[in-house]
Amino acid sequence: MRADLAPVALTALYLFAGAGLVAAAYGVPRDVRTAFSAAGLAYLAGLASVLLVSSWALVLGLPFRARTLVVVAGGIGAAGLMIAAWRQREDPARRPPGPRGGQRPAGPRLRGRPPESYAVTLTGLALAAYLVVGLLASRVLPLAAWDSWSIWARKADLVFVHGTLPVDVLASPQYAFAHPDYPMLVPLMETAWFRAVGNTTTQALHAQFWLLLVAFLLAGAFLARRVSPAAMWLPLLALVGVVPGVRDQLLTMYADVPMAMFLAIGALLGGLWLVGGRRSDLALAALFLAAAANSKNEGLSAAVATLAALLVVVLTRPAARKARAIAVAITSGAVLTSVLPWHIWLSSHNIVGDTPLRKGLEPGYLVDRAWRVWPTVRALAEQIGDGATWLYLVPLGLGVALAGLATRRIREPSAYYLLSGVFVFTSLVWAYVITPDDLHWRLQTSANRVVVALVFLAVAALLQLAGSMLRGDAGGAHRADGGS
């Protein structure tokens, strides 16, 4: 009974926290349909914020118990709703952004409906049915992938038992194989599940990861519909749901796909801010990029790369350059601050990772290892070009972004996504260059996983640029909250 109700209770907690944040950012939804469409973003925002705050509390020595979850989620949700109510009083017309213009596309119609609406409805129904089937299967899967238990579930299990960070284990050289320096957001997501069900069985935990995919697709739809007709974004999101590389990796319960999802939503919100100037978009972008940075070490470099791309693009446009650069700097500061507690804790316990980051900045060390660059570039490019695994998402994103670069009105967001991709790619190559491990072994065991960040960046680019290219703007037309 508890195992059946646990997912509902946990989902409700995350949703409440996220609903507060989304309402604070965009206003309180006025109808059920809008509230439902915002549910995916709310779930992801709630999960990210609750686990981020909990991880900081854990570093401070506070225990992570069911009570902690309820208090943190309740506090975030209530604070968000209070801010939303206050902002609503200031601006009564404020409400969440709706579908772009509410226009119906011109063209031939069948009995009053445009023909593509039938394809959209049918695809939406097929996707929903598929997601339900996936959810049912994910509830009964056996534990399988090595790192899922050796790294992630191990930490989750120990926090569940001890209630606090297992210092003795993480600082012990005998557990160095479990990468004690990896951040705690994903293990805490698992511990939250264990707390909810009352034990450490991992079978139904897979459903928690599947729910992330469902929420990502809903969140993508909520954001994309501001700039794009459903006929453009739905096929792209539906494709993400069935991509073998995404769904297979997601259910291994590794942290790569959750990190990439946070990164993509953060990048998309950054892109929407770039064009629309809505500060709420940038604030939520900071939250999601912080979640990516706290999910994996590669997430930190990817978040920094995305923010660097945003800053470069902002600096190249004279209009409001200073104000926008300051906004990006504040966002970057928030993201970097979010990882500080964990890194201070690691440093105070002399826990170091296996990647020599400081050495990685020394020119001599880099020159000695320059031979690693080309094999790494080739291996990563091979991975993103693997059509059977990724169903061409990266070429699609690159094709649209390159076309956008040649289209004056969406040049800025296109440049932002292309630069983000280049910076993330470069950060991955750098990581392979400086790692002390055997390069071929490292590439063989991880290249297929690390490229998932690039795949999801391509998805973010597609969601913003595809419809904008047709319609003539990339998100600027909708400023329902007056740029709040």
Binding site: A119, A126, A137, P142, Y175, P235, L236, G399, M469
Partner: protein, 171 residues
């Protein structure tokens, strides 16, 4: 590299679509405008080609696993790889709260047994033999089991080669 050919393919598909739909505008703009719809059409086709095989694979997984108890699913890596799950469960039950353990014979950190045993016996922590409260014998030879370990009791056996010896002060 393949990925560049794929990008060229996406652009060509856009140009082709622009021709088929007779999109108006200057040449290059016309072609560029059609790339996003081409990307969406391609995505739609790929979704429909893949959705049933993906759903079918989940249906098959569900059928194969739906009767597996949660406790068995959680120890699957050990069972699939032929580790002695019965013994690990027994050892976990016999180690007392807070006791640390060492594995004998010693294992390299990269091996499945090392990592799985430390996962299954958590929250008991692995320690070097000199500091451990107990020695967990996993597949030890008779000689290794018989060998006197100063300060440790004779092993309590689960099965030949499998047992636990405690440091004398620990019990």
């Amino acid at each position: 590299m393949v990925v560049w050919f794929q990008i060229a393919g996406v652009v060509l598909a856009g140009l082709l679509l622009a021709g088929i739909l007779r999109v108006r505008g200057p040449g290059i703009t016309r072609g560029l405008q059609a790339i996003p719809p081409a990307a969406s059409v391609l995505a739609l086709a790929l979704f429909w080609v893949n959705v049933w095989p993906a759903a079918k694979s989940y249906i098959d997984l569900w059928r194969a696993s739906r009767h597996t108890p949660a406790s068995a699913a959680s120890i699957s890596p050990g069972v699939v790889n032929g580790l002695n799950e019965g013994f690990l469960e027994w050892a976990r039950a016999h180690l007392r709260a807070g006791e640390t353990f060492a594995l004998a014979p010693e294992q390299s950190t990269g091996t499945l047994l090392y990592q799985w045993a430390t996962y299954r016996l958590a929250p008991h922590q692995l320690a070097v033999p000199a500091a451990a409260d107990a020695i967990v014998f996993y597949g030890a030879g008779a000689k290794d089991l018989r060998r006197a370990r100063p300060g440790f009791s004779a092993p309590l056996l689960y099965a030949p080669g499998f047992g636990i010896a405690w440091r004398r002060h620990a019990r």
